[in-house]
Structure formats: structure tokens, C-alpha cells
Symmetry: D2
Subunit: 477 residues, 4 copies
């Protein structure tokens, strides 16, 4: 209701002085919204659900499908026939972007346009505050990380049509590798450095990246024929983050684009620091992360961000046609709900959960005659299962025993597995390196984990390991 409407409320309905107090509160609320629209920065404190819905609904009412008298003769008028669907999208229907550009304004959908653009502004502000202050542009892309990587690869390739090789530091997760194939490019797999075992006097290599191998491949193929280098930060232990800083320097030196797969990396300031530093001393064209893992929204969105606007904008321009606004809406509501303080709290709690998980797993490893595999990974932890493999040899049983006890996300990797994707064979799949030699299980402390989850997991893991040993054959019941 605008100011005129409010004034029309008859005294017969409510006394004027009561109304005046209520109007003060109304103005206070609108002031906060005004501030958001003007500054386009994360609010310090999270908004209440009521406030978020108020704002989001007001935006949706600016879209033509919600106009009281409308007369649509186009081929797409934002009509939604199922009421349940209409409701769950808060009356948004037109999606975002236009044929020409994912970030273009839609004349028919002013509210959706504001919603999407504001979300991108808030996302940038959030990335900056998460440890990457030099982030220049960020865009929510309504596809998950793999597809977003593919789009960025295509964008980069469009500028270097003759360069079809992608140098990729191996990480044993299909999605990123497949994005290279889906983009029609040729992956060159650079195997990870296997971590040095606890040889006395030999320091643990903190990074996974085989830099010399990268250099020799570049020299071999020629920089001009390399579309880009793809590095990875967040990943399963025992793989560590790639040495983003050194790779960035390399890319700058050879003038090769550099994409960073930062899938769930915004959860840790350690990764953010790598990115900020890499961009300062070298070249990073874009870094890509998922919305679900970093912002705890349903799967389906990714954020493409960069230190200069160009690559991010080029991705938006490459995007053919309109797109779902659903992911932007999820991100917007979540960011408003958390506020800066809310996100900081999540980050702190995650860090504490990681410390707690690490401590517990160290103890457990000791008790079972195993060890934590050496690596620098602020999220994922790997514990060896060497003695268990020796005993029974059916390690996958441990995984399914855990699953039956409600544990999800715990990966058991035996040394025997290998995998072929589209003609590319990965020895010791799951270990990120063909030189790895020990079976292990991993557990992660990711955003939203609670202390109780850690305690439960440790106790269940202990129980399962004991049972497995006792039964010898581990029938898993």
C-alpha cells in the first residue's frame, strides 16, 4: 500500500493516532529496503522471514504477469496455470535475461530484473567479504557447477578458437572433467603429486599441483594451442588444493587463461586467500563455485566470478536466451536471511566442526592402528584403512555399514579401483593420483555441520570399524 492508500483508511476503521504509530514502523521497514536497493550490499544482520517475503513479493508485483489489468498477445506472457507452481515461485514467472544476454533487463519483468541484478550485487559483496576483496564481478548462473564450467570454457574458447587443449590438474570428481568434454575441448590430465609419506626430515608438500609437469606440457603443446588451465581448490582429501598462486603466475607468464574450479571453496578463507593472491600476482580469468554448497540452497546454481568484469560478462553474453530466475531467488532470500553476521557465524562454526572432526579422527585412527593422510585440506579429512584392507579386503562394506547407520557422504576408496571416462583412464580413481597406494575413507566438515553431527559420526565410525574387524568378513548387518 502506498502512502495515499494508507491515508484513505477511515477513522471509522481505526483511530488516527494508532495508525500513526503503525505508519512509523512501516516507514522504518521501507527505509531498510531503500538502503538495500541503494547500496546493494549484504545487510549486516539477517532479515526476518516476514521482511524477506514482503520485499520479494513487492518485487514480483512489478512483473507484468502480476499486473491487475494486462492483455498479453505474445508467445510467452508468464502465465502459470498450476496455482501451486505459481505460489512456490512467489509469482515470478518470466525468468531472467533476454535472448541477447543473461543479465539484460526484461521490459515485461521489471521485478525479476531487479531481483536478478540485485542478487548479483549481493553475491559480489558476499564474495568480497568472504576473503576476496578484489572480486570485480559475480553472476549467478542457473546451472550447477559442471555446466557453469562448461559455459566458461566455451566462452574462453570462443576467444581462442584455435586453442582446443585444456590443461587440467587431476581431481577425481567426474563433473569438472566432463565439463571439458562437453565443451568439445581436449583435456590434458596432469596427475596430482602424491603426498610424501611421513619420511623423517621430508616436509609434506602442501599442494597437489605438479607444476613442472604443467610447464613441460605447455612447452610441448605451445601456449597458443592451450585454451586454458583449469585448477581446483576445494576437493576431497587426501588431495590438497592446487597451487593456485603458482599456476596463476604460470598463466600470466605464458598468456594462458586460467579458470579455477572453486566448487565449495568459499567456505574456507584458506581457499579465498589463494584466489585473491593468485589474481594479485598472476592471472585468474574466472573462478566458479556452486550456490548449493557455499550458500546452503538446493542444487541448481553456480556463481561465476572474476577479478575483472570481462570474462564474467562474456559468459552472460554467450548464454543463449532466457534462464530460470529460481536460483537467483534462492540466493537472494538466503543472503538476506543470513546477513553478513549470519554468514560469518556459519563460517566460524564450520571451522570449529573441522577442528573437532580432525581431532576425533586422529584419535580414532590411532586407536585402530591407522593414520590421517597428510594433506592441506581445510574441509575434507582422509584416514587410512590399510589394516582393514589387509584383514578382509572388502572395504566397500564399511561404506554400506555406515550408510545403514544413517551416515552419508563418507567415501571409502580402495586402491584397486580405476575408471575410464570417454576414453580417458584414471588409475586409482578416487585418489586423484595414479601414484597413491593406500586405501582410505574421507569425511568432510562442510557448511552447516553441527557439533552433534561430528560426535554422531565419530561414534558410528568407531562402531562400524570395530564390528568390521570382529566379524572379519564384515557382513554389514
Amino acid at each position: 500500500m502506498n502512502d495515499t492508500t494508507l491515508k484513505s483508511i477511515a477513522k471509522s476503521l481505526v483511530p488516527e493516532n494508532y495508525l500513526a504509530l503503525a505508519n512509523d514502523a512501516r516507514l522504518e521497514r521501507d527505509k531498510e529496503i531503500k538502503l538495500l536497493l541503494e547500496q546493494r550490499k549484504l545487510p549486516t544482520y539477517g532479515w526476518s522471514d516476514t521482511m524477506i517475503e514482503y520485499f520479494v513479493r513487492e518485487l514480483a508485483l512489478l512483473d507484468s504477469n502480476n499486473f491487475p489489468s494486462r492483455c498479453g498477445v505474445g508467445e510467452r506472457e508468464g502465465r502459470v496455470i498450476c496455482d501451486l507452481v505459481r505460489r512456490r515461485h512467489y509469482n515470478f514467472s518470466h525468468g531472467i535475461g533476454r535472448s541477447g544476454n543473461l543479465t539484460d533487463a526484461q521490459p515485461k519483468a521489471v521485478g525479476s530484473t531487479i531481483m536478478a541484478n540485485l542478487t548479483n550485487c549481493l553475491v559480489r559483496d558476499w564474495i568480497r567479504s568472504a576473503g576476496i576483496p578484489t572480486c570485480a564481478r559475480a553472476t549467478v548462473i542457473p546451472v550447477a557447477t559442471g555446466m557453469a564450467m562448461m559455459l566458461v570454457l566455451r566462452t574462453v574458447h570462443a576467444k581462442r578458437p584455435a586453442a582446443s587443449y585444456v590443461l587440467w590438474s587431476r581431481v577425481d570428481q567426474q563433473s569438472c572433467f566432463k565439463s571439458i568434454l562437453a565443451a568439445g575441448l581436449t583435456p590434458i590430465i596432469i596427475d596430482c603429486i602424491a603426498h610424501q609419506e611421513d619420511v623423517p626430515g621430508v616436509a609434506i608438500k602442501p599442494f597437489a599441483t605438479d607444476l613442472p609437469a604443467f610447464v613441460s606440457k605447455i612447452e610441448e603443446l605451445g601456449a597458443d594451442r592451450i585454451c586454458c588451465i583449469v585448477s581446483t581448490t576445494s576437493c576431497f582429501a587426501p588431495r590438497s588444493s592446487d597451487d593456485v598462486i603458482e599456476l596463476s603466475k604460470l598463466c600470466q607468464r605464458y598468456d594462458i587463461p586460467h579458470l579455477v574450479n572453486n566448487a565449495y571453496g568459499l567456505q574456507s578463507t584458506y581457499f579465498s586467500h589463494q584466489l585473491a593472491q593468485g589474481a594479485r600476482v598472476g592471472r585468474i580469468d574466472a573462478f566458479v563455485q556452486s550456490t548449493d554448497k557455499n550458500l546452503l540452497v538446493p542444487v541448481g546454481g553456480a556463481i561465476v566470478a572474476g577479478f575483472r568484469p570481462d570474462t564474467v560478462e562474456a559468459v552472460a553474453k554467450l548464454y543463449p536466451g532466457r534462464a530460470s530466475g529460481s536460483q537467483s531467488l534462492d540466493v537472494l532470500m538466503t543472503l538476506l536471511s543470513l546477513g553478513r553476521r549470519g554468514y560469518e557465524k556459519l563460517m566460524t562454526e564450520r571451522k570449529e566442526a573441522h577442528a573437532m572432526l580432525l581431532e576425533g579422527m586422529v584419535k580414532l585412527a590411532e586407536a585402530h592402528g591407522e593414520r590421517i593422510l597428510p594433506c592441506r585440506n581445510p574441509i575434507s579429512i582422509a584416514m587410512s584403512l590399510a589394516s582393514f584392507e589387509a584383514t578382509a579386503g572388502r572395504l566397500e562394506m564399511i561404506g554400506s555399514m555406515l550408510q545403514k547407520r544413517g551416515v552419508s557422504g563418507c567415501r571409502v576408496v580402495s586402491t584397486a579401483d580405476s575408471k575410464t571416462i570417454d576414453g580417458n583412464t584414471f588409475l586409482r580413481w578416487g585418489s586423484h593420483s595414479s601414484r597413491c597406494s593406500v586405501p582410505y575413507l574421507t569425511a568432510s566438515a562442510s557448511l552447516g555441520m553441527e557439533p552433534q553431527d561430528v560426535t554422531n559420526f565419530l561414534s558410528k565410525l568407531d562402531g562400524v570399524l570395530r564390528k568390521y574387524r570382529t566379524k572379519d568378513k564384515g557382513d554389514g548387518s
Copy 2:
């Protein structure tokens, strides 16, 4: 968002000319709301769900429990701890009324106050348009019809403390009778006139009221000792409506208050006409109806209305303390959703369903050697079951067979039943008259009934009656 907020939307978020068009639509919407608040009349056409929710939410934001910065040190601050509960009440929490009066404004709850008062205005407008143009005041009371009757009885008694008798034209439905007992008053039951059977040459008496019996009771007890007369319009066949007009004249003549139990009577212009006429030529202090049956909302509310403001206001003033606003909200949303046209459509469809049902039951009665019991009842129809009783004598089986086939609301009344409530015995309970002599079943065409319901019912009834006859003992399977 107020006008200033909208202007603060940066051009970087959306182009100005696009925003201007969206703002036009926004102003159009607010204009409609302004009109409602100024005129306080039913809109001609129903509003969309989006529009209704927009309006209701804006109202709720005027309540102090939704103020962004609030500091509550009272004993009741409208806090709602369960989010699901908060949501389903659209953030309304303070209820309506104050200790002093059900219709008083609450300083803490401006939105709830407007909501409740506006609803009462719309309800009055709706009653006027439903055939009672002289209705002067109407109030939604958040209790069902029985309790509402009890409140009105207590209000009337408060003004006539020495008069403790209530003359009540018998209707075999417990709730109204119990409201007299609950009010602490003494009911005097005036048995209904049993309808003349089809004696050739004898006209059917259109009304149920035994007027001479009323007169003689008044003379016997003395008008001063009679708290009021309670008559009933809508009821189950074979009872007809009371002769509201003649009773009104009687009440005027003897200066006795007159309450009409119009439970689901607003569905039929026939009843409305009785009320309007009764008030014109005689005395009606208040008429009471349910919100659920006349407006298709969940059970829980009633409307007390009158032709002068005094009794309705006195009821509101008698009400001790605050009350639920939930029923007013249901009524408000429903009236806005229907609009004048929507309600008219429902009325027309109901009338058509009744005609269809009557026609079908006449045919069915004929086919089974029964007849439709004579009465003037625009909603409920009674069909005799004389030959069925003769056959097997277990008529209740017919009811349960229908129920098993998904038929609800069909009442089978055998002549044998009688019932005692708090010391008062009702011979042939269910027949509204101790002189009734035929078993029957009833079916109603009430608001919201669809043609398909009629067809289904007729076919199922036919099937059950056939089966009952065939099996002779009717085992109901």
C-alpha cells in the same frame, strides 16, 4: 514499498522507463485497495489470490508484533513461537477487540483492528445484497452459531433480568436448544405443526409455526417473564421455516424480543425475504447465522446481525475480553475472493442444484413407491421411507450403506426415535414434531453443491434402495 523506496531503485538495476510501466500497475492495484477502504463495500468482481494476500499482509504489517524494532514488556506481546502457526495466521497474532468490547480498536494491533472492522462492513454489505437491504449492523463473532445464540440470549437477558423463559419453536437440532440451556434460561418448547398429508382439498401449511400455541403461552406466562422468542428459518425437511413475519408481529404486539436462528439461511432469498419483511412489519432484535455454511469457510464463526445497531452492539460489548481474529480473516479473504458476482453465482448454482435434486428425488420416490414429504423448504428435501420400514424395519442400515458409498449428510429418520436433553424430552426426535408419523430421509442442496454431486447422490441412493429391498434384511455390504 512506498513511493520513495521505488524511486530509490537504481538505474543500474533496471531502466527507468521499464520501471515507470511497472509503477503504473502498482498504482492501479493500490487504487482498488483505496476504494475498498473508503467505500467498505464488497468489490463487484472477486480479487485474485495474489491481490488478497498482498492486502492482508500489508494489514498485518501494521500490527506491533511485526514492527522491525519493537520492545515488548507487556504480558502479551503477540509473540508466536512456532513458525508454522505464525505463517498460517499471516502474521496476525493479537486477535480482535479489547477487554471492553469486541469491536474496539487495539492500539497494539492497528492492522487487526482494520481487518476486523472492515470485515464487519463487508459482511453487512453482503447481507444487504443477499436480500436484506435494511440490515443496519452485522458483526462476525468468533464462535459458532450455537455459542453466538447463547451470547445473544445472555445479552437480551441482561436487559430483562427478570424474564427467564425462552419461547422456542421446536427444531430438532441440538445446538440451538442447548444454547438456551447454556445461557441459563428456561426453554418453552412449542411443537411444530405437522404437515397435512395429501388430503384432497386441504392446502399444505407453508410454515412450521404453531402461532396459536405461541399466543397462548405468552398469555399464560405473561410477556414480562418471557426473555425472548426464538424462531428458526433454515432447517431440515420436512420442517419448513417458521413464520417469521407473523412471529415478528406477535413480538411487536407483546413487546417481546425476537431472535431468529438463520443458521444457513442466507443461502436462500426466500429466507432473506422473510427476515426483511418480518423486520418491516414487526420486531426482530437479531438474526444469527453461521459463517461456514453461508460463506464456505471452516467451522468457527457466526454473524450476529440486526435491523438496528443496538442489539448487535450490545452483544459486542457483553463479550468479555479479546477474541480470535481468525474467523474474521477467513470471512474477509472469502468475500474478497468471491466479490459480489462470485456470491451471486454460488446462489444461482445452489438454486439450480436444488431444483435438480428435487426433480430427481420426486422421480426416485415415485419409482420406489414413496413420496416427497410436503413442506416449503428451499434447501432440504425429505422423502418418505414408509414401505422400506414396513419391509425390514432397520432403516438405519440405509444410512450406513450410503455412507459406505461416500454419501455424507443424508439423514435417515425413523419414527421410533425420541431424545431427552437436560430433562426435556423430544418425541419423534428428528421430525421436529411429536405428531409426525412417517419415516424419511433428507438431502440438502446447500451452497457449493455441484450438479455432479446431485447426479452421484441420486444414482447411489437408487442403488442402495434397490439393494436394501432385494436383500430384504439389508446387510449393508
Copy 3:
């Protein structure tokens, strides 16, 4: 989906072993519901919103208005025409109770019946755990406290029709007093004991009740002519709780029914203890409390509870007709959401908030040359304003200054006010006693108050008091 449905999920839709794990989780969930239905006790830990909605929706599906094929020919078929209304009531529509009894089962509404009865069971369990272990029966009545008191009064009077006096220990809140008038009974006001000022050597009287005055009134009127005694626990300071224990003894001695207005008393174990003890050593027929204040739901419901089933059941039987199920639903969802632990936490936090508020107000009083008025009240605190009245004489200004700063619920009571309700005059209205002589303001620490509310209030109060003094005339800006 029942077990057969689940088995029908084709392998082409999802692999069997995946489905098996999901089914385990499903069984776990259903087990918890089974436990609730069997034990009918508060769960120890609160349920998630998802779980609550799952349960509530399943119940609603048992009501006939939600049957896939239904054929309704009654006068009330639970049809809901406005979709928004339907949704907000979770598809419940039939209300609770039947003509005969508020707690009777409805054949058409099995889900509503279970919902209402289960809620009553959980409420009893909650009251027991809140410090009244001997509570025998409790019923949610879908009217607020005042109306509920009125119903109980009418119920008691129905058994003692010749007894029309209600002995009432004065408490200056209109609703309870009006309920006596609305019930058609005659209130006898027993003025409260004014608290002894800090006369050295004189102990503060912990209770408000003028027991000797009660005794003399009983003797004067005769116990047979007294319908009941109404006492009050929770109330605004400087009134303390009535001496429920001694009044209970009195009632037992004279065989007079005893009703306790425990409006928001379940928040404090102090009041609960009074009630439990009173029933042990004397007579308490029923105690009445609001759902909104004790359970943080929207205004509209009350709980009538007793130490023997009879009075509570009699109230349910007196209730004429059906009633709203909305309040029971709010209570059910809230109790499931909190669980036993959740409510305990709320109680603890309230107690802490009270201690914090008291400490702060003591300091503030000292700083402004005032004092906390002596009384035993675990919720409300009163601070004198004697020197402020002396200065400017417009104490109400303090109230409106606080209101403008967002403070609600702080009552400023000047000694000058008096009030007449229906012919009964209350000297020094607001002070609960005609012998009170000091102006004051009150603040309460009620359920749901947060530490931040206390801090905010204290700081705002300090500011307002300073400003008022400075400006002398306190223009309130």
C-alpha cells in the same frame, strides 16, 4: 503413501537398494508418530516443521471434505471456497465437537477429532510437567480467557442455579470481571490488600487476598447463595497472586466452588505450585489460562483444566454446538514444535529475563529516586513514579513517550484514575486496591522475552525518564 504404494515404485524409477534405505527413514518417522498417538504425551524434543506438517496433513486427509470421491448432501459439508483459506487451515474445515459436546467425535471429521483430542492430551501432559502433576483433565476451548471464564461460571451456576453471587478478589483487568457480568451473575468485589510500605519491622504480605473479608462475606451472604469464588494468580504488579492455597481451604470448608483465573500463570512454577498445593489441601474446581500467553500462539484460545475430570467435562458438555478447531491446531503444532525441552528452555529464559529486568529496574529506580513497589510477582514489576507525578503531573506522557520509542506493554498508572463497569465503581483503577496511594509503571518479563528486549527497555525507560524531568512539562517529542 502406504506400504503397498511404496512397493509399487518401479525399478525403472529408482533402484531397489536405494529405495530400501529411504524406506527405513520413513519407518523411523512413522514410529515416532505411532509413539505420539499411543502415549499421547509431549515428545521430549521438538519436531521439525517438516515432521509437524507431515503429521497434521495426514490427519486432515482423514476428514471427509478431503476424500477423493465424496458426495455431500448435508447442510454442511466442509466445503471451503477460497483456496487461501483452505490452505491456511491445512484442509481442516469441520471444526471440533458436535452439537452435544465439544469433545465428541465427528463421524465426518475423523482427523479433526483425533487432532482435538490429542491436543487435549498433550496439553494435560504439558500442564503436568509445568508443575501441576495432579492435573486430571484439560481442554482447549476455542475462545479467549474471558469467554472461557464465562463458560465455566455458567457451568458451575447450572449446578447451583440458586447461587448467583460470585466472590471475586479484585484485579484491575476488565476481562475477568466482565465474564461474571456476561454470565448473568452478581460479582461481589473483595478489595485487595494494599501492600505495607517499607515500615521497618513490618513484613511484606506476600499475597493480595483479604481472607478475612472473604470469610465475612460468606457468612453474610450464606455459602448456598454463592455460586463460586474466583481467585487470580498472574496479574500486574503491584498486585501479588491471590492466596490460592488459603482460598482453596476456605472453599472446601464452606463447600463453595473455586475457580482460578490463571491467565498467564503457567509461565511460572511459582503459580503452578500454588495451584497444585491448593488442590491438595483444599478445593479448586477449575483453573483457566490463555493459550496465547502461555504457549505463544495467536489470541483466541483458553485451556480449562481441573484436578478431577467432572467440571472440565461439564464445560465441554455445556458448550452449545460445534466450534473452531483452529486454536487446537495452533496449540498442537506449537507443542510438537517445542517438545518438553523446548518449553523448559522458554521457562528458564523467562526466569532469567525477569531477574535481569528486576535488577535493572531496581538500579533505575534508585537512580531516579524511586523504588520498586513491594510485591510477590514472578512476572510483573512495578516501579513508583511519585517524584515524577510531583514534578509535572502528566504521567500519561511517560507512557506515550515510551510508545513512540517502540516500547509496548509498559503501563503507567496514576493514582487519580477510577473506573465504573456496569454500575460497579473501582477506586484507583489499575491499582487493584482502593487503598493504594502511589503512581507507578509496570513492566513484565513474559514468555518469549529476550535479554536484548530487557536491555533495550531499560535504556529507553531511562532516556524517557530523564527527558521527562528535563523538559519539566514533558512534551513527549
Copy 4:
């Protein structure tokens, strides 16, 4: 609640015989769900919202993020931090697909898996019933049409890596053209046939496709170097559908893949027939359509369908990583809500709206000295504006005047415009052909259009054209 739970409902909560009836209804509901899961076909009649939500929520409860006791130590556990976001996704969070394949089952998300796979089955059934009975496979892809085309192009190219040309029958809508560029392929634009003007004795060519030009291009480039041919069915008038049947024959003859951009073509049986015939007599590898335009859901999804499973499956396999399940959910809810009959009704109404719109525009054209441009287009209609261009020359004013009056979707195309996309120049952009010579406006009768929309539009268009003429310079106010 499963069967055991139901049995645990104590008699003290509800009588057994009442419960039995409710259970019958419950079984009836579950039977319908069982049928859906077993047959995986569109229900004949649409389901109620209550039923749809019941089903969808039951599915979501099978996902691990909703398990009562869960212990997640993975990097993605489906946690959703913002309650509003959780609610609007009905507790679905894991998305669909796995790294390996968009249609793979997720062990952690059984409900999401069933939901997505079932949706695909229903979509296929719906396409079959919409006039393409030979459709073998269909998959909802959670990207809009443009991106879906790009994915299909990349999939086709992956099998023909040496073939980089895409022969594309020009249609002046950016999104499809951009999808070729985004896929990294080289578009060969085949200009459309301009329709013969009303030369007496010359029949109007029903199709837009310049078949001889296609043949000569194939001969020129060589079939092996052509990745595929892209044809279009639904488009803006005055362009007609491509001659899908002849192009299919051509593709078969030359062994070239054939993709059909059927963006909003499922609305018209005319297009469906083309596709079915094309596949019967020639080659169609896949046809792509939007979910928003054909099913009236929010923008964001597309359906890739084919007459053999292979291409559709290959697209799903190419998709790198997981994806949003939001679009599948929208489609599922909408299809269940409509049922077969509901969709048929929408189709019929659209056809009627088109006839009505055409008739009205023919009259309008006549009145203003213009004509309807000849073409075979069952959705979009183009009316010449030759005389208007002659008068004032600022045709875009007509568009903005319409917009100000609430008309959206009406495109005004002047002959002067031309556009360059990524180096490709389109003469007379908007006319689909460089040989077109007349300015015009278009209006469409698309799904969901109501008769009132047509009437409103015609009246507004008439008004605007008159005003434009009068003012001569048409200042648009």
C-alpha cells in the same frame, strides 16, 4: 502414516468405525498414486492441489536431507539454511542426476530421483497424446530452450567432431541462433522464402523453407562437414513453419542429423503432425521445446524429445554434473494438476482464441486499409502497417502506445531494421527474410489466452491505430 501407524490410533481418540471409513478414503487415494507409479502415464483427470502436494511431499521425504536421524559428513548434504527456500522447494534439495548422467539415480535422493524420472515418463506420455504418438523418449532439461538447443548441438557434434557447420533456416529470434554460436559451431543461414504477395493465380507457399537453397548448400559444403540441420516450427508470423517433412527427407537422404526447434509448438496439433510425419518419412534426431510456453510454468526448462532413445540419452549423458530439480517439479505438478482432459481443454481454448483473434484482426485490417500477411501459422498473426509507415514513419510509437495501455507481446516490425550478431548480419531483422518489404505488427494466440484477452486487445489496437493516424505524428500519450 503407514498402515501400522493408523492402527495405533487409540479408541480414546476416535471411534473405530469412524476411522474405518476414513481409512477407506485413504486407500482410495493411495490407489491412485500406485496407478500413477505403475503406469507412469498422465492421469485422465487433473488431481486436486491437496492430492498433488500429498504426493510430492511424500516423495521429498524419501530424500536423505529429510531423514529424521541423519549424519552427513559429505561435501553436499542437501542442507538448506533459509526456511523460506526450503519450503518453496517442498524440501527437495539434492537436485537431479549425478556427475555421470542427468537421468542417473542419486543414492542420497530417492525421492528426487523418482520425481525426475516420473516427470520424464509423464512428459513423454503427454507429447504422445499431443499428436506425436511415436515419441520414444523425452527429458526435461533444467535450462531454457536456447541452452537446451546448445546442449543438443554439442551432443550431436561430439559424434561428428569433424562437422562444424549448422544449416539453419533463418528465424529472427536471437536465442536459437545464439545457441549455435555458443556451441562453438558455424551457422550457415538459409534465408526464408518471402511469401508471395497476393498475385492473382499464385498460390501462397505454405512453408518458409527454401529447400533448393538447403540442397545446394549441402552439395557445396559436403554432408560430412555439416553437423546438423536446424529447422523451426513455431515462430512469429509472417514466417510459417519450416517444411519439417521435406527437411527430414533431405536429412535422411544425406545422412545429416536434424534438430527441430519446436519452441512453443506443442500447443498446436499442426506442428505435432509435421514432426510425427517428418520422423516417419525422414530423419529427426531430436526436437526441443520450452516448458514455460507449452506447459505454462515459469521460464527455465526445456524438453528434449526424440523418436529413438539414443540422442535424448546422449544429451543426458553429456550433461556435466548434477542439475536443478526445480523445473521437473514444476512440470510434474502442472501435469498432475491438468490431467489429460485439462490439457485438451487448454488446447481447444487456444484454438478458439486464435480463430477469434484472426477474425478480429482481419476486420481491423480492412477497416484501416491494411491486410493480414499471408502465412500458415496457427499461433501468430501479422497485420501490415504499410499505410501507417507512409503517414508518420515512426511505427515504434504504436508499440509503446500499446504497452502503455497494458498490451504486452505485440511486436511492431518496420522494414528498416537490420541486426548483426557476432559478425552475422540479418537484413530486415524481424522479418525472417531479407526479401520482405512490408512493415507489420504481430499478435499471438498462445496457451492460456482467454476470450477476454482477445476482445481487449482488438479494442485497444483499434484505439491506438486511430489515435496514431489522428495525431499524425503520434506522440503516444
